[in-house]
Structure formats: structure tokens, C-alpha cells
């Protein structure tokens, strides 16, 4: 146990976390050049595309230190976005220390702070690492000062490195060994292992990633999941090298995996404690926060026959991503589906993409919503996160919507653009502070509903990528809400309904009508699109009738090509939803989520 170190790397997006992880893996020669792909730990396509880590990956590195001993260093990767604070907390709870990565030219960012607090909450040892020191724009003095003043850490302890150039990687290893304490726990005690991740392998079933705090677990043991008392016989335990590597046992302080034939997906709950059935721990391990979804949206299969397959995919997904919540939902326009709760809009997008790519589902998602509260005339309160259950407008006494405290850090020059964006989003009560010369931290009160659509993307655009954003939900405030419906040739498309602030209703109405006009293909009749509150139409657009195809020639040499074109179009039509006699493509449902500026 003295030669084990469990640690995480926390950083702001783009500060080089994945690059550092890759370099460390290379440093211990676990990967041959041929095997090495950039950013080993980010295995999902989406992560590569967006350059962010979504799912935690774990790897165990064997490092021969300068003291001549070999150490097992378990790197538990953490997701790098505000939406995933829950996953971060689980990963951190399994560590004794963290590397806090700071970009040598960008300095400390809002997210760095948020992650630092999360690590401090867990009483972890924090090693500041200043990365990208090779950059010409690196400003070590500034960063050191920030580490002292903003993070309250000793900047003399900071390690200088360039993950990209491979500078200082050895120092990082030595610091991990010398500064992060080895795990301590009762090797003879009852088994207590913390689940921090779970994956589904089609051949082996559920693969549980865990950190053993007390006791040990080995194949043949009967384990018990403490939250529901479900028991399973362990088939295999092991550690994460580049691939899973079986071991005789997982002992106290170790990080690894357990395969135990878990078939019921809901039995594995990330955050749960595993113990032995015949010698259980007295209490589960503490330290886990329950993730609360803040954004809600419904997921429907494109064709109703795929409902069961979608249900199965969601269940498997949930195993891998405990923060996803879902329950049955149904829509007149889209049929049977699921209402899902997400940690944020990015989380929503990721779930959507992963369902499509990894689980091969063709899905339609509805406009995301937050959770509203309504006090009704009969003094009852209803909580609504689905526009379908919007109460009768006549019966609403007061409506409340969730507000956040948004914290935005930007270089001074973007102040005007950012304030304009925030004011458009109903922000109020701005407070300014100047953490370092040239930078402003703005704190504002905003309705959560205004940031869940595209706020973060817009912020990045107006600040050319320099703005960082974090928020916490603070309270519910009274608000003037309405339900906005959309009709296509007089038929309501319930999946497009949304709850919006009255002042923003017209803007939304126009936006959605325009989007639908662009996305709904022309039919052989005119298609009228309307946005309406109650019976009152507030916006409209029209898709003109389609009355002429290309009338090209069609002789012997044209036929096959033409037919192939028709076959392709026919395939495209399968991805359409019929509302009345109007075909609405899946893209229309997605397009309403995009803003006009794009």
C-alpha cells in the first residue's frame, strides 16, 4: 500500500490535461509508438471532436522512482466541464491528491477554481503544475502570483512542465510520489469499495470501476451493492493498464475493476459502496453528492418500432453515466419516448451524440426545458419540466423559474459584448471584480432557462474563446411565463411546445417559425407554420408549395443514376415524422435549438 498513489488531474478546458496524461503514459513506456495515439485517454469520438473529456478513464502506471522502488500510480481522469461536477466529485473521492494544471499563458480560470474547491472539499493534496511553459506567451510570474493569491497555494511547490514537449514529466512523477500520501485503510477490515465509474461490455456485462478503501476483493467472493443489497459472485478483478489486466485480488488502496455478471443495469449505481455479502461493512462510504438534473428534454425514436431498442440503450447508457435520468413519456406527434434529465446542455448534446453513434439509435430530442414551479388557485404547487404538463393558464396564481448565479471571467476588452449578451438573456444585478489586472469577473443573476440553450457557445463566440463560465442554481423567482405552441397546417406539434418568459415569447416564436420554414421540405401543398400562445397566433411562416421537379431527359444512360437518386431520397424520407400530412425531418426538431447568429 505504501507504493500506491491515487491521483487525478484537474484543469480548465484546453490547459493540456489529456496531453499531460498521454505524456505520462508514454513516459513509463506503456505504449509503443505504434500504439500511441494522441490523447490516449479520450477514447470517445465526441471527446476527440470537442477536445474535452467527458467520461472518466482510469489507468494504472508502474513507475520506477529515483529511490529505486517501483510505484503503482493510478491516474483517475476527470471530465472537464461544469456539467459534470458530479462525475468529478466521484473521481476525486477515490484519490489522495490531485495535479492542478494551470496554463502558463492563460493563468487561473474560473473552472480551475471550481475544481480546486471540489478537491479541497475532499481534503486532497494539491500539487500545482504550470503547463505550456514552452509557449512564447508563457508568463510564469503572473501565474505564480495567481497561484498564491487566487488559489492560496505555495507557488514554490509548483512544477513547471510542457506536456506537449515532454519537459518536466519526470518531476511530475517524483512530486506525485513524494507529496501525495499513500492510501491508508484497514487491510484486515470489511470490504468497502467505492464505485466511481461503470461501463457495459457486450461480452462481459457490467465492468465496475472502483477504489478499495478497506479490505480486499477477489474472484469467487460474493459482493453486495449497499444501496439495494443486490448480491453477485465476482468473476474477475483487475487493474487498468492500457487494457484490463486481471489480478488475483484488489487490495486496500487499489484502484481497479470488478466483473461480476451484473445483469440488471440499475443495480450498479455509481457512488455506491461494494462490500462482501458474508462480512459487510457497517456503513457505506461517504462523500458523494447526488447529481441533480437541471435540463430536461424528451427523446423519441425516429420510428416507433425502435422504442424498445431505445429503452435498452438508455438503460445501458445510464450504467455508464449515472447522472442521466429518464422516465417514460409520450407525444401525439412523436409517439412513445422518454423524458430525460441532464446536468446541462452539453451533457444533453453528448447523450444525444453517444446514443446515435455508440448505441446506433436514431432519435429526436425536444426543446430542452428547466424545472418550473407553479402555485395554483387552489393553493397547490406543481413542478413542471415538460411543457405538455403546463397547467391551465387560468389556474396559475404565480409561476416560478430557477435562477442561477453566473460567474463569467473575461479579459476586460470583451466586457461590452458580454454584458450585451447577458442582458439579452434577462440577466440582472451584475457585480464586477478584478481578480488580476486586465481581467474582469462578472457575477450576475440569470434565469437558468436562458443559459441552457446556447449561452456557453455564444459566450465563447463573443469572447473569441477567452470567456469562462460557471454557475450555480440559487433560487426560484416569480416569473411571467407562458406556454408557446407550434402548429403545422393547423396541427399542434406537441414536441415543439416550450415554456418561455412572456417577454421572450415573440422572439422565440419568430425564431422557431423561421427555423421550421428552413427545415421542412416543400410539399405539393403550402405548409403554414404558426407559433401560438393559447389560441393567439404570435408568429408565422410559410413553406411554399412545391410544384416542379427538374424535368431532365431520361434515356437509357440516365435511368440507373436517376433511380439511385430516388432511392437515396426515399431513405431520407424514412427519417421524417408525419404530422397530419406534413413530413417533418428530424433536423427540424434539432434546428430549433440553434440560434439565429449561427
Amino acid at each position: 500500500m505504501q507504493r500506491i498513489r491515487n491521483f487525478s488531474i484537474i484543469a480548465h478546458i484546453d490547459h493540456g490535461k489529456s496531453t499531460l496524461a498521454d505524456r505520462m503514459i508514454q513516459h513509463v513506456h506503456m505504449v509503443t509508438e505504434r500504439e500511441f495515439r494522441d490523447q490516449m485517454l479520450d477514447t470517445m469520438d465526441i471527446e476527440r471532436e470537442r477536445g474535452i473529456t467527458i467520461k472518466s478513464q482510469t489507468i494504472s502506471l508502474r513507475f520506477p522512482a529515483r529511490d529505486g522502488k517501483e510505484y503503482d500510480l493510478n491516474l483517475i481522469d476527470t471530465p472537464g466541464h461544469v456539467d459534470f461536477s458530479y462525475e468529478v466529485s466521484r473521481a476525486l473521492a477515490s484519490c489522495e491528491g490531485v495535479l492542478l494544471l494551470v496554463d502558463a499563458s492563460q493563468g487561473v480560470q474560473a473552472q480551475t477554481l471550481a475544481n480546486l474547491y471540489a478537491a479541497m472539499e475532499q481534503d486532497l493534496v494539491i500539487i500545482p503544475v504550470i503547463n505550456k511553459i514552452d509557449l512564447p506567451s508563457a508568463d510564469l510570474d503572473m501565474v505564480r502570483e495567481q497561484i498564491e493569491t487566487e488559489l492560496g497555494l505555495d507557488s514554490d511547490d509548483a512544477i513547471l512542465c510542457s506536456a506537449k514537449e515532454g519537459i518536466g514529466i519526470g518531476d511530475v512523477f517524483e512530486a506525485i510520489i513524494s507529496k501525495i500520501p499513500p492510501p491508508n485503510g484497514n487491510e484486515k477490515g470489511e470490504l468497502a469499495a467505492l464505485i466511481f465509474d461503470a461501463n457495459y461490455d457486450p461480452y462481459r456485462g457490467t465492468i465496475v470501476s472502483c477504489r478499495v478503501f478497506d479490505g480486499a476483493v477477489k474472484p469467487g467472493d460474493v459482493i453486495r451493492f449497499m444501496h439495494n443489497q443486490a448480491t453477485y459472485k465476482v468473476e474477475e478483478v483487475g487493474v487498468f493498464r492500457l487494457r484490463r489486466e486481471p489480478r488475483k485480488q484488489l487490495a486496500t488502496g487499489e484502484v481497479g475493476y470488478i466483473i461480476s455478471g451484473v445483469k440488471t443495469v440499475s443495480d450498479t449505481r455509481v457512488g455506491d459502496t461494494i462490500t462482501l455479502d458474508n462480512r459487510p461493512a457497517a456503513t457505506p462510504l461517504p462523500g458523494f453528492k447526488e447529481a441533480k438534473p437541471v435540463v430536461f428534454s424528451s427523446i423519441y425514436p425516429i420510428t416507433s418500432e425502435d422504442y424498445l431498442s431505445l429503452a435498452e440503450a438508455l438503460a445501458k447508457f445510464k450504467l455508464n453515466d449515472a447522472s442521466l435520468e429518464f422516465q417514460k413519456d409520450s407525444s401525439a406527434a412523436l409517439g412513445q419516448g422518454f423524458r430525460c434529465g441532464f446536468l446541462g446542455l452539453l451533457h444533453l448534446e453528448i447523450v444525444q451524440m453517444r446514443l446515435e453513434r455508440e448505441y446506433d439509435q436514431s432519435i429526436i430530442m425536444t426543446v430542452p426545458s428547466v424545472q418550473y414551479r407553479f402555485n395554483l388557485e387552489d393553493d397547490s404547487e406543481v413542478v413542471v419540466d415538460n411543457p405538455q404538463y403546463y397547467p391551465d393558464q387560468q389556474k396559475i396564481k404565480t409561476a416560478l423559474e430557477p435562477f442561477i448565479r453566473a460567474s463569467i471571467i473575461i479579459p476586460e476588452r470583451y466586457m461590452g459584448a458580454v454584458m450585451k449578451l447577458c442582458m439579452e438573456r434577462r440577466a440582472s444585478n451584475p457585480r464586477m471584480s478584478y481578480p488580476t489586472p486586465g481581467r474582469i469577473e462578472v457575477t450576475l443573476d440569470m434565469p437558468l432557462a436562458e443559459v441552457i440553450y446556447d449561452f456557453y457557445d455564444r459566450l465563447k463566440t463573443v469572447t473569441q474563446g477567452y470567456g469562462s463560465f460557471d454557475y450555480e442554481v440559487t433560487e426560484y423567482r416569480v416569473s411571467d411565463l407562458v406556454k408557446l405552441d407550434f402548429l403545422v397546417n393547423g396541427e399542434k406539434v406537441d414536441a415543439l411546445s416550450m415554456i418561455v418568459h412572456k417577454e421572450r415569447a415573440r422572439e422565440w416564436g419568430v425564431h422557431v417559425c423561421d427555423r421550421l420554414r428552413d427545415e421542412i421540405p416543400r410539399h405539393q401543398f403550402k405548409v403554414a407554420i404558426q407559433g401560438a400562445i393559447g389560441g393567439k397566433v404570435i408568429s408565422r411562416s410559410t413553406v411554399s408549395a412545391f410544384r416542379k421537379d427538374v424535368t431532365a431527359k431520361c434515356y437509357g444512360g440516365d435511368i440507373s443514376r436517376k433511380r439511385k437518386l430516388l432511392e437515396k431520397q426515399k431513405k431520407g424520407k424514412l427519417r421524417m415524422k408525419m404530422v397530419g400530412s406534413v413530413e417533418i425531418p428530424q433536423s427540424a426538431f434539432v434546428s430549433v435549438l440553434r440560434t439565429n447568429e449561427e
Binding site: 405539393q524 410544384r547 427538374v550 431532365a552 440507373s560 430516388l566 426515399k570
Partner: protein, 382 residues
């Protein structure tokens, strides 16, 4: 396939069609996507290859009742080349007693001598690529002939005694007005052609115009203008006694409908020889390479010069049958829709909205239906 095909097409067995692709042009027209080269220097080799290709198919098709020399510019061939081609065709294939034999011609190539050769060889239908009777339009289309040249050619063809003449015209050119288009159309009617092909200018990828369009340098008429051109043309010609029997084709009587081209739209067997030619035989389709060099190379290796082939599935056959049905006055056999409730209700909708009508057990597209020939099949098969 064999048993289903008659049901789909509602068609009695018919003699096959023979197509011969002449891949030579004096100059390339910027809109044309047929395969051709601008040098005749390989013509000799090409004829030689045709002979071998024809021999390969000897006995494969029973009898042909049409022969179509298309291109390219078949009228570029001289007496010797034409004679050699006809003798090689007769050596390998059997024709019915009076086949329809068409030749595509450029007005510039029409001479009394050439017409005499044509008559001697049995060519009884000339399809003249006029495209327009307005000089500006002819230049835009890259045609080498003039309006006056086209008129002289038509006079000569009539003078030589040809009684089945087709004129090709194009409309929907950038900036073209309706009266400008009707000018050309009327000029053509002065010669009382038995057949007219009126094509809306369609810009294909891989042509010079396609490149212009990709660079946004070609302003084509909008959909509504194109629609007016089409409907006006149809009404104009039908009023003057022509049958609008296919989207782009008009004939002065049922008997003057292009027998050869109709085979393409009825899944009747046809053989195409020469580079780029397509063939169809009992549900199977294959096509030759679109390169004279490659064509020659394969032939010299003793191989058929095939580029691709496909065997149509029932679904594909149905899709094509619907597509052809909506492109032609022949329409679709109503028996095809039996037992398919979606298709039946769709047919009723089309009737109601004036896009098709029922006649003699067939669903016939109307003028407005023709305009949607591409969309309607997909509406039916959904």
C-alpha cells in the same frame, strides 16, 4: 422477375431496341453530358471494336425493331463508315422487316449526299439537334451551326423525302423570355416536324456549364418560370395537334412516337454498343466504359467493355416503373396498385389534386403531374 415484369409494365413481349453510341463531336457543347471526343482519328479503331462487340452479342437478343444511332454526333460519319457500321450490324443482328432507324444529326453535317447515304442504308428517321433558332442562344449553347443553317438543313431533309423528322429544342436558358422561346418553337413548327423534343436546360455536374453553375456564374430561371415554360410548351403544342407523350417529347400521332426511346420507359430489352452505351435485358442492366481508349483496350483484351451492371430487385423495378409511369402518357397499370392500400389512396389523392387521372385501367399523369414526376414515385412507395 420474368413473371412479375409483365404485370408491372402491363406490356406484351416486344422486339428489342439497338442503340449505337457514336462518341465523336466536332466541338463539345457546354451543357451536354453524353460521352464524346472531338477528334475522329480513332474512328477506324472504334468501328473495328464495334464489330467485335456486336459479334459478342450475336444471338443474345432475338430480333430488333429499332436502331438508334446516337451520340456524340452520328452525322459526322462518312459514307464508308456508315456503310461499314450497317454491314457489321446486319452481320450480327436480326431486324424485323421495317425497323425504325434513327440518326441524330447536327444541321451543319446535313448535305444532299449524306442524306442519300442515309436513305440507301435504310435510315428513316432523322433527329436534328437544332436547340434554338436564335443566334444568341445558339452561341450560349456552344452550337456550331446557325439558325439559318438549321432551316436549310430541315429543307434538305424534307427535300430528300424523309417523312419522320424530329427537332430538338431547348428552353429555360438564362434570361430567355417566353416570347423568345415561342419564337424558336414556332419556327420549328413551320417545318411541321413529326416529332419534337423540347428540353428544359438542365445543368449536369461534370460539364462546362456545371462548373459555371458551381461558381455561381449561371443564372437559371427560377422554379416558377421553369414551370410556366413547361406548361406553356405543352399547351401550345397540344393545341397544334401534338401528343405530349413524355415529359420532353411530342409526336404528331401515336404512330410517330419514338419507338426506340419508348423501350427505355417500358423495361423492354435493349442493347447498347459503343463506349458509354447502356443495355437492359430481362431485369438486368449493364453499361460500357465512358472512354474510347478504355473501351478499345478492353475489347483488344477480348473482354466486354463493361463498367458496371446491376440486377434490379422487385423494389427497384417498381420504383423505376412508377418513375417512368409519371414521366409518360402511358402512365401506370392500376393493377400494380392493387393490394397496396397506401398506393391506392395516394392515387386517389393525385386524381383529386389534378396530378393524374384514371383511364383504360391506367393511372395517367396530367401536365401538372409530369412536373412532379420525380416526387410522385416517392409519394407512392412510402
Amino acid at each position: 422477375m420474368g413473371s412479375k415484369s409483365p404485370c408491372l409494365t402491363g406490356y406484351l413481349p416486344e422486339s428489342s431496341g439497338l442503340y449505337l453510341h457514336v462518341p465523336f463531336c466536332r466541338s463539345k457543347c457546354p451543357y451536354c453530358d453524353f460521352y464524346s471526343v472531338t477528334s475522329m482519328k480513332e474512328a477506324r479503331e472504334w468501328v473495328h471494336c464495334l464489330k467485335r462487340e456486336a459479334e459478342c452479342y450475336r444471338g443474345f437478343f432475338q430480333t430488333f425493331d429499332t436502331l438508334y444511332l446516337g451520340g456524340g454526333t452520328p452525322s459526322l460519319l462518312n459514307r464508308a463508315q456508315l456503310s461499314e457500321i450497317f454491314s457489321l450490324l446486319h452481320a450480327s443482328f436480326t431486324f424485323v422487316p421495317s425497323p425504325e432507324i434513327s440518326l441524330e444529326a447536327n444541321p451543319d453535317d446535313i448535305t444532299q449526299e449524306k442524306l442519300a447515304v442515309c436513305r440507301e442504308l435504310g435510315i428513316n428517321r432523322i433527329s436534328l439537334g437544332v436547340q434554338s433558332f436564335r443566334e444568341g442562344e445558339l452561341r450560349f449553347l456552344g452550337r456550331r451551326h446557325t439558325a439559318a443553317g438549321a432551316e436549310r438543313a430541315l429543307e434538305k431533309i424534307r427535300g430528300a423525302g424523309f417523312d419522320n423528322v424530329s427537332v430538338d429544342l431547348m428552353y429555360g436558358l438564362p434570361g430567355q423570355s417566353m416570347s423568345q422561346w415561342l419564337f424558336s418553337l414556332k419556327r420549328a413548327l413551320d417545318f411541321q416536324p413529326e416529332h419534337l423534343s423540347c428540353y428544359e436546360l438542365t445543368v449536369e455536374e461534370g460539364t462546362a456549364m456545371g462548373r459555371l453553375k458551381a461558381q455561381n456564374r449561371l443564372k437559371l430561371p427560377d422554379e416558377e418560370t421553369g414551370r410556366r415554360f413547361f406548361l406553356t410548351t405543352s399547351r401550345f403544342l397540344e393545341k397544334r395537334g401534338y401528343i405530349h407523350y413524355e415529359i420532353s417529347n411530342f409526336a404528331r400521332s401515336e404512330a410517330l412516337i419514338s419507338r426506340h426511346n419508348s423501350k427505355y420507359w417500358k423495361h423492354v430489352d435493349y442493347l447498347g454498343i459503343g463506349p458509354g452505351a447502356h443495355s437492359f435485358f430481362q431485369g438486368k442492366r449493364w453499361w460500357n466504359v465512358r472512354s474510347l481508349q478504355h473501351y478499345r483496350a478492353l475489347m483488344s483484351q477480348g473482354k466486354l467493355p463493361l463498367e458496371g451492371e446491376e440486377c434490379l430487385t422487385e423494389d427497384q423495378l417498381l420504383l423505376e416503373t412508377l418513375y417512368f409511369g409519371f414521366r409518360t402518357k402511358r402512365g401506370i397499370n392500376l393493377r400494380l396498385l392493387e393490394g397496396a392500400p397506401h398506393m391506392e389512396s395516394c392515387a386517389a389523392e393525385l386524381e383529386e389534386s389534378g396530378l393524374a387521372l384514371r383511364r383504360d385501367g391506367r393511372l395517367i399523369p396530367t401536365r401538372r403531374g409530369f412536373l412532379l414526376a420525380e416526387s410522385l414515385p416517392l409519394r407512392m412507395v412510402r
